[in-house]
Subunit: 175 residues, 2 copies
């Protein structure tokens, strides 16, 4: 898929077909995630790839209603920051670096025909703490987001993506 088209047509996909995402596709998605920029090239991200249905359901239990799509997702990725790698002068750049990685994965998936939805976790600390506990993460590894992936359920009506463009968000030269 052409890049501009991919950027403009990506939308959240929450209903999935019963179809496996191949390891090759998954690796492409993960490589795309690691191709983004990060502060001082710290690459302060780490990914937990989950296919196990029981674990996906536990992740959904923690994050509540918005995370229901995980229950039918083929793959869920818990995208985390690694504070041991973060830029020491301003560690909170990790939040931005990991956001970039997650968006790259979503776009790569979309280009491969795989749907996804971003499930917000950080900065809702109840979710962060419980996801960290579920996986027994070290203190320096912080859950940032969960991305649910799956081939779109073709029985679902595909509404075209609504445009989010708002001209009043653009300021020229000054506020």
């Amino acid at each position: 898929m052409e890049t501009i088209q991919a950027l403009m047509t990506r939308k959240s996909v929450r209903k999935y077909a019963d179809r496996e995402i191949g390891n090759q596709e998954l690796l492409t998605i993960l490589k795309a995630g690691m191709s983004g920029p990060s502060s001082v090239n710290s690459r302060d991200w780490t990914f937990i790839v989950v296919r196990d249905r029981k674990t996906l359901n536990q992740m959904a239990d923690i994050n509540g209603r918005p995370a229901e799509p995980l229950r039918a997702a083929n793959v869920g990725i818990l995208v985390c920051g690694d504070l041991e790698r973060a830029f020491t002068k301003a560690r909170d750049y990790w939040i931005i670096d990991v956001s970039i990685a997650a968006q790259n994965m979503i776009l790569a998936a979309h280009a491969l025909g795989i749907g996804s939805v971003w499930l917000g976790t950080y900065p809702q600390m109840d979710r962060v703490t419980k996801q960290a506990a579920l996986f027994g993460l070290p203190e320096t590894v912080i859950p940032h987001s969960i991305i649910a992936f799956g081939y779109p359920d073709e029985r679902e009506e595909e509404a075209p993506k609504k445009s989010f463009f708002e001209e009043d968000r653009i300021h020229c030269e000054k506020w």
Copy 2:
């Protein structure tokens, strides 16, 4: 450009040709920025597009050495969060939402043959405060990042992008 290729080949471009980015290309970049997901679809971003050389130099002065590319950039975009639009239950999602918008713009530019580099601003609060003062931003509008854009200077040796892939960043099913 094909999406996976764009994701894998994007790299920071810091030297620019003396060539104007057309308004049409700029609009495509901004539309891509506004096509990403945001928490509860809050679209809590806003963009200040700068072509004025004096302003670009002032922005560079504030952000210091890493922002030197702005002095030769054709366009700089100050990407901001708009707290008035942010998700009220967890306002700091704005940091993630604006990161997604910025990365989308970088990828759109790359697909159009336009180079860019991400200039970290938030959470380095000295930079944030001074950029906000330069543009006289309301208190609810927070500078997040600056992206410098320009056609790549073809006199520069193009090193191929290094792979950032690290297998040890991937965990399967558990930590």
